[in-house]
């Protein structure tokens, strides 16, 4: 149990994929224009990460190391396609707003990185938990990022207006440049908060 909490803490805080490891930046910047997209993307990545970690961990002794990357990519692409088809069928609206970025989860480096660094060396259960932790860390980070961008960039949260008519949205924040700025400031804030904690120890 304690190792579960430790892994969860690692994924969300101390080794957060976005704020600390700085991987998976492309979908993070592209889909964080609204909270709805951010959460949708986060959950899709979490699902793929858990499934691929589990399967890769189960097959870790079966897959020869010479062809492991090819095998991982096929497994990951399989799960991504399942997510893509399910979204198209049952959540067509989310599917059309995430568009190209669902198929692009295949090349999201978080997933390959966890397969290579964790799932290929650990048992199925820890790997599944690792997928969940890293996925949640990604989801939390992209949700914070998209909340800030949506709130200031369009004056809404989850599509609901917050500020009323008097507020002029800072359009730049939902453009790509605003994504970089917001992400940079959030990483700085995150580093500041976690570093203070470490020093006080």
């Amino acid at each position: 149990m304690s190792s579960f909490v430790k892994q969860l803490k690692e994924g969300i805080l101390t080794n957060n994929p976005i704020f600390v490891q700085l991987i998976g930046m492309c979908p993070t910047l592209a889909t964080s224009t609204s909270l709805k997209n951010g959460i949708g993307m986060g959950l899709a990545v979490t699902f793929v990460l858990m499934c691929s970690n589990l399967v890769i961990s189960l097959l870790r002794k079966f897959i020869p190391s010479k062809v492991r990357i090819a095998a991982y990519i096929v497994i990951i692409a399989g799960f991504v396609t399942i997510v893509d088809l399910s979204l198209q069928a049952y959540l067509p609206e989310l599917s059309s707003s995430l568009g190209m970025f669902i198929p692009l989860i295949v090349v999201n480096c978080i997933i390959l990185a966890r397969a290579e660094a964790f799932a290929s060396k650990n048992g199925p259960l820890p790997s599944l938990i690792d997928g969940l932790s890293m996925g949640l860390g990604f989801t939390v980070a992209i949700s914070i990022l998209s909340t800030v961008r949506e709130l200031l960039g369009s004056g809404t949260i989850y599509g609901l207006p917050v500020f009323g008519d008097g507020y002029t949205p800072i359009i730049m924040l939902i453009l790509p440049a605003g994504g970089f700025l917001t992400l940079g400031l959030l990483i700085a804030l995150f580093q500041h908060l976690t570093r203070n904690k470490e020093e006080s120890k």
Binding site: T33, L59, F62, I63, P64, K66, V67, A70, A71, V74, I75, A77, G78, T81, I82, L85, S86, Q88, A89, Y90, P92, S96, G153, S154, P169, I171, I174, L175
Partner: protein, 192 residues
């Protein structure tokens, strides 16, 4: 020895890809019908939204369509008695971020009934606002030769979306092409 290794590597990869392909085949089977049905339903709903007074739609293919036209599809809008009340055009003009897929409903008297944007890749927060119903409702009742202005639109003018003149012009071009085509179709129908 070396050969054995190659067979082993290839065999493992083959086994994995075959298993994944099988799984995907199963999932595709499960979702293909739902996806097709959703797509068809969406198409019908969007046609209904630009032609609320029609009850059914019938795809037509005029002979004199230009190959390079931005019009990608035409449907006749029919009321419950099968009488033609207008046309529904799908068009793909070039916007700022690529093709904008526009649906235009034109009444038989050659006025715009409704305009809807099916898909686009315009800038979020700028050009993407052109997909808002409020902006698109400006087109209702307009006739051929609509022009775009940046402020205080009058008569047959459309006020552009703030900082998105290219997108606004693209949509307006589509609506004008639809109106011109509707006029041609009307004339042909009268000659027959």
């Amino acid at each position: 020895m070396k050969n054995n290794e190659y067979f082993h590597l290839g065999g493992v990869l083959l086994a994995i890809t075959a298993a994944v392909a099988l799984l995907l085949g199963f999932f595709n089977n499960l979702t293909a019908d739902v996806i097709a049905a959703t797509k068809e339903e969406n198409e019908r709903l969007s046609m209904q939204s630009v032609m609320p007074n029609a009850s059914s739609f019938e795809t037509i293919e005029p002979e004199n369509m230009q190959q390079d036209s931005i019009i990608t599809g035409i449907s006749e809008a029919l009321d419950e008695n099968g009488q033609r009340v207008g046309y529904c055009f799908s068009l793909s003009p070039k916007g700022y971020g690529g093709e904008v897929s526009v649906l235009v409903g034109v009444n038989s008297d050659l006025t715009v009934n409704g305009v809807s944007i099916i898909s686009h890749s315009e800038t979020p927060g700028l050009g993407a606002n052109a997909a808002d119903e409020e902006w698109l409702s400006q087109f209702s009742g307009k006739t051929a030769g609509i022009t775009v202005v940046k402020s205080s639109a009058q008569g047959n003018q459309i006020q552009a979306v703030t900082s998105a003149t290219i997108t606004s012009t693209a949509v307006t071009t589509a609506v004008n092409s639809a109106l011109d085509m509707a006029e041609t179709l009307n004339e042909e129908a009268q000659q027959q």
